[in-house]
């Protein structure tokens, strides 16, 4: 079984959408990535940090999904990272209400020895120096390194971000971030420019409008599944990345054609994530549901044109 090393936040979220609001619930990029990747036959481990206030049942939930949690440091007397946000009516934009870094402020990631030879590494959205710190601990060169980031680091830590970007194979960012990072409005041109910065594969996430995968002159598109109702978009991007990396790790195949399948799986899993608040849907998701939805993705995208 291939190893997938995940670094990212394990956190508390409090979420408000037009459909309701939650108290502090389980959240964090690595949580969503881990849950999503657990649908594949991989040996996944999370490197993260939480405070002493973090409930054991949340850690048990991850462990029960087969995720190694040895690398989740619990800081004595510390408080867990907390994020609170309120989505606008169209669910496409949100306001951050609270960001309490807490134990994340001094996070020094330690990769468990058993995962220093992981085949696939997924660097979830975190300070670029933390992402670099994880790569520096690897004892064998991973077959694939995937990096997720956001505009915040482009604004506040661009040199450090550019440095870690040089070292990765795949970058996943949204359309606005691709434009900011490249200075190009056209996503085709943006992806070309970003490919010169390091990553040979650029995944541009467009939320409800799907995701694009670029490599050299090739491009592939995975739509988002049209849903009757999107309940809570929190974690959809991380779930997408976790599905992509989990599938690639399972299949041991880093060809462009196989990455197409990876982003279809990513989009598939993300379509479940948004159906309920927080991690609720992903916690109870069954493999059969994922397979059934794969058929929906085929019906949504496959066509047969006979050329005369």
């Amino acid at each position: 079984m291939n190893k997938l090393l995940i670094v990212g936040t394990v956190a508390f979220d409090a979420i408000e959408t037009p459909f309701g609001k939650t108290d502090k619930i389980l959240g964090g990029a690595a949580t969503y990535i881990g849950l999503s990747s657990s649908f594949f036959n991989v040996d996944a481990a999370i490197v993260s940090v939480v405070g002493e206030d973090f409930p054991k049942e949340h850690l048990d939930l991850l462990a029960n999904k087969g995720i190694n949690i040895e690398g989740i440091e619990i800081v004595k007397g510390g408080k867990t990272f907390f994020w609170s946000g309120k989505y606008h009516n169209d669910l496409n934009s949100r306001d951050t209400l609270v960001t309490e870094l807490n134990v994340l402020a001094d996070f020094n990631p330690i990769v468990p020895n058993a995962y220093k030879n992981a085949e696939v590494v997924l660097l979830g959205n975190l300070h670029p120096l933390v992402q670099t710190g994880v790569l520096d601990q690897m004892e064998t060169k991973p077959k694939l390194i995937v990096l997720d980031t956001m505009n915040f680091w482009m604004d506040c830590a661009l040199p450090e971000l550019l440095d870690v970007i040089k070292k990765v194979d795949v970058i996943t960012i949204n359309d606005e971030e691709a434009r900011q990072l490249s200075g190009e409005y056209s996503l085709v041109k943006a992806s070309q420019k970003i490919q010169t910065m390091g990553p040979k594969y650029v995944v541009i996430k467009k939320g409800e409008h799907g995701a694009l995968l670029f490599h050299n002159k090739e491009v592939f598109f995975a739509p988002a599944l049209p849903l009757e109702e999107v309940f809570d978009p929190t974690g959809a991007g991380d779930t997408f990345a976790g599905g992509f990396a989990g599938y690639i790790a399972q299949s041991e195949n880093i060809s462009f054609d196989n990455m197409k399948n990876g982003i279809i799986y990513g989009s598939n899993l993300a379509s479940f994530c948004v159906e309920k608040f927080g991690t609720e849907r992903m916690e109870k998701l069954e493999k059969e549901e994922v397979i059934a939805r794969l058929q929906q993705f085929k019906a949504l995208t496959q066509f047969e044109i006979e050329l005369d």
Copy 2:
């Protein structure tokens, strides 16, 4: 050869985009629809109206593409409909600078006798009463009636619009218009509601984000081709509709599966339309280019996931 009857504007446009501006050039929904449908083996005819100021070479252009122009009335002493618009930097929105209805204000469409038995009718964006007026002249029931409309008629002529919508098989509108017409934010719910208003097939155009085709519980998605540069979006929606209707008319097959091919062709042709100002690209487009781009659409969307 099947007959395709097109009703819509034949007009002058003056367009400004971040890439430049034009004087009065050939424009109008029926013009773009006609040019797009001319890539298929169909007997197409345009019903429209122009003024005496409309250059003969524009009419010749359409005729030379094999389009019957007998139904384009030339009003003695009249002036042709003129629209002028300026696109914003992202090309996703625009301001209308000038709308001079001129001869369109009193347009009374007359369907040539030879097309009163057309198999496919495409009602381009016009006052709903004009669209109804065309349907009333048909002597045999068309196999497929496609209607394009816009928010303007929802605001100003909703009862008349709802009346003509009842009589059509396919409606093509953009995402915001689908939301306005249905009162539903979710495009899935919006399409379900619109299907109860008449059209059994709902095509929702999302511009650079592609197009969705809904029918009962089925849904299909055609992406827009990611382009290095979009030069001028004018006419893209009409080109899309013309490609869809032209393909359906040629293939004599109104199944859902064949409509999938229709919207792929629509998206294909629209991807050329935006590459140059106005009708310039469509005028010179070769069939071989369309076929080559079809391969790009396949590469963009087709995937092979083996289920274990």
